[in-house]
Symmetry: C2
Subunit: 160 residues, 2 copies
């Protein structure tokens, strides 16, 4: 089961996105968790490798089960962990082998081309408190077939 | 990569723990995530199956990479997701095929027999705000060899 961690910087009303060459769709920078890492370490390492910058105080915003279905059959499944940070150290690459890094006003998350589940997740990450969970089912060409979403907000444990 | 979700109820200064028969070690009730589920759904389903109760407003407290090493080689690896809830609906089973369910004062988490990484994680879950991440490396008989821990607290994104 592959695990992908990505990280969205949301600073001064702008977000740092990676435009991938294949469809010109936007994603938050990230990549595959490696054996023995924690998911936090994976998110920071992948973000740093892809952008040449270090995120400041990242925190988790979402955990998603991603499923590809073809002809009613599940053909792939992985987990996606989305982090946010409000600041970063360093100057991002402009272009990498993964695509082009661009700052966009946060409200453009509503309209930039991207997978529809990613839009749901990134909008949650920048606008809402707490953590979102869910399952997104896509066709092989990333048309969203179905989504189910849950949400949690940390409660106060009074006996700590 | 197996993914385990567990859930600790912490209510009225007591926690609900499962005493496993093999070593009489204590754990939070939980079990394996199934294909297509979200991790939130897995935690609630497994907790409900093991206790016959429904957790109220659970929220995530930790994500861990668990590694078993033998003779310096990694022989197993899985992920553990720990949730907390402050209340539950229903009356827990007293005994299940998995072990005996017992309420204990929260401070007994410091001394009840359990894997040392589990102690670290459950104490964090009941006492601290935010989310803990980390990697725990054990021998095959669950002696803790090494741990690395990270932590995050949600920041305020000012442009939401």
């Amino acid at each position: 089961m592959q695990r992908i961690a990505n990280l969205l910087i949301c600073k001064d009303n702008e977000v740092l996105l990676l435009k991938k060459p294949r469809r010109n769709w936007y994603v938050a920078p990230g990549g595959k968790m490696e054996t023995g890492e924690s998911i936090f370490e994976a998110a920071v390492r992948e973000f740093t490798e892809e952008t040449n910058t270090v995120p400041i105080k990242p925190y988790l915003k979402g955990i998603y089960t991603m499923v590809i279905e073809e002809d009613g059959k599940r053909v792939d499944e992985w987990m996606l962990f989305t982090f946010v940070a409000k600041d970063l150290e360093g100057t991002p690459f402009q272009e990498t082998k993964e695509g082009i890094l661009e700052w966009h006003p946060v409200e453009e998350l509503h309209k930039l081309p991207m997978a529809e589940g990613d839009r749901t997740n990134l909008l949650f990450a920048v606008h809402e408190q707490g953590i979102q969970y869910g399952t997104f089912v896509y066709t092989p060409d990333f048309t969203l077939i179905k989504e189910t979403i849950q949400y949690s907000l940390e409660g106060k444990v009074n006996n700590g």
